[in-house]
């Protein structure tokens, strides 16, 4: 009950920020429409709607890290958290209260992206539902990034690290905007050592119904998510002690 009260507050703070809505929802939709228009004029297989949509939905999740990290860092910067630390809220209430609301928001973002993609002629199949559900482990990964950054950085630093670095990493090292095979070499090795490209390939495989290809990618994503979540919880508890 206490955790749900706190989680409700997290969701309200995130959803009421017009910038969050603009970037979290507007930006992925703009990308989807723009790149589909480019594809219509200059056909590029990578920008075909069935390839593009999974990438854009994953890319959109990077903003979830930004929203969550900004809120946590801002709370840390004010006395609100100090006040709440003197209430019966437990560390678990804080961690779940900050992280759980992000998952339905992330899923809602995915649903909106897929609805837009259907309008842009994505064939309607049951795999769309599975692809949206596949966003859950990926959103865990981005939630962990958010909790980690929010626990160790100030709100200004969060803008730089989550807003610029993470979104760029998610863009460049994910194979959404260009084929990693074209670059190859160390760049490709680094990309495949990180979780972003696996998240995108997992979503592409689900949407295409290639379910046998999903497992190795989901394993990468979940391993990163678990390690990052453990680190995030550790750093959150540390900053709680410091407060």
């Amino acid at each position: 009950m206490r955790m749900l009260t706190f989680a409700k507050r997290t969701a309200k703070e995130i959803l009421r920020d017009p910038l969050n809505l603009a970037f979290g929802l507007g930006f992925p939709l703009v990308l989807l429409v723009l790149l589909t228009a480019i594809q219509a004029s200059i056909p590029i297989p990578l920008f075909e709607i069935q390839h593009l949509t999974p990438g854009v939905t994953v890319f959109g999740l990077a903003f979830m890290s930004l929203f969550s990290a900004t809120l946590i860092a801002k709370d840390r910067g004010t006395s609100l958290l100090q006040r709440l630390y003197t209430t019966p809220l437990t560390p678990a209430d804080f961690i779940f209260g900050y992280t759980l609301p992000i998952i339905p928001i992330a899923l809602a973002q995915g649903v909106i992206c897929y609805v837009a993609a259907i309008v842009l002629k994505l064939p309607v199949t049951v795999n769309i539902v599975y692809a949206i559900l596949g966003l859950i482990p990926i959103s865990l990964l981005y939630v962990a990034f958010g909790l980690l950054c929010g626990s160790v950085l100030t709100d200004k630093q969060v803008g730089g690290i989550c807003g610029a670095l993470l979104t760029n990493l998610s863009a460049w090292l994910s194979g959404i905007w260009f084929d990693l095979e074209l670059v190859g070499g160390t760049f490709k090795k680094i990309a495949y050592a990180l979780p972003f490209v696996h998240a995108v390939e997992m979503e592409r495989a689900i949407l295409a119904g290639r379910f046998a290809d999903v497992l190795p990618h989901v394993a990468w994503v979940l391993c990163y998510a678990v390690v990052l979540l453990a680190l995030a919880v550790l750093f959150f508890l540390r900053q709680m002690e410091k407060q």
Partner: protein
């Protein structure tokens, strides 16, 4: 009965003694002000008593519960209004109050009743649906105090509640604090001498983490041989320094 009993309460930050061997009792229903220059240890004392910081040594008992071994019980009977305004800026005034009610597990009827009561007491009716982050500093401070009071605390910590507020808002807050006297135990820290003198049953003056004196304003002035409380404070603090 004592609402708070501090027993050789000590907090070190590396080599710095923020609070050293503080032993002090606060009676039930009393308003005790903690006074001191910057770095005297007032805020650290409040942080320890509200379980935000663990003492390095010693202990304190809030309503008979240890701040070291029984933090959950302590947290259930206290509330803190921190130095800075502590509100959720994206929520309305009502939602901020509902947030605290939810954290304390109030039923719907009790929540409505408490919100109505606090809104009337702190004059927040006209801004109830407004976003807290858009309100003036004075109204935000009132909301911050309302959020502390809504959990029906037996002990309330007010850390510099009127800092940075204009004279009229400060006067309003003094009236609110006066209206609470006797009903709950209040520990107030302040830099304003006249505030401590006007509101407190007793005043504890701290310097370098140590308690210098704890008595009524009248007795403190008597001891410092002056009619002016500010002068008394300066004499006592300097006297100890010499």
């Amino acid at each position: 009965m004592d609402a708070i009993r501090m027993e050789r309460l000590t907090k070190h930050y590396k080599d710095v003694v923020a609070v050293g061997n503080l032993s002090l009792c606060v009676h039930k229903g009393e308003l005790l002000s903690l006074l001191g220059v910057n770095g005297a240890g007032k805020t650290t004392t409040i942080k320890m008593l509200s379980c935000l910081t663990r003492p390095t040594a010693g202990d304190a008992f809030v309503n008979g519960k240890s701040i070291v071994t029984d933090t959950a019980a302590v947290k259930s009977c206290i509330a803190v209004s921190p130095q800075d305004t502590a509100i959720a800026p994206g929520l309305s005034v009502r939602e901020n109050l509902e947030l605290i009610c939810g954290i304390y597990g109030f039923a719907k009827e009790k929540q409505t009743e408490k919100i109505d009561e606090l809104v009337a007491l702190l004059g927040l009716k006209s801004v109830l649906t407004k976003k807290a982050g858009k309100l003036s500093g004075g109204i935000q401070r009132r909301l911050s105090i309302a959020m502390a009071l809504i959990s029906e605390p037996e002990i309330l910590f007010l850390d510099e509640p009127t800092l940075g507020l204009d004279v009229l808002v400060r006067s309003d807050l003094w009236d609110i604090i006066r209206s609470l006297k006797g009903k709950i135990t209040i520990i107030l820290t302040t830099h304003y001498m006249e505030e401590a003198e006007a509101l407190s049953d007793r005043i504890a003056i701290m310097k370098d983490g140590k308690l210098v004196i704890c008595d009524t304003a009248a007795k403190i002035k008597e001891r410092a041989e002056t009619d002016n409380f500010e002068q008394a404070f300066v004499r006592i603090v300097k006297g100890v320094a010499e």
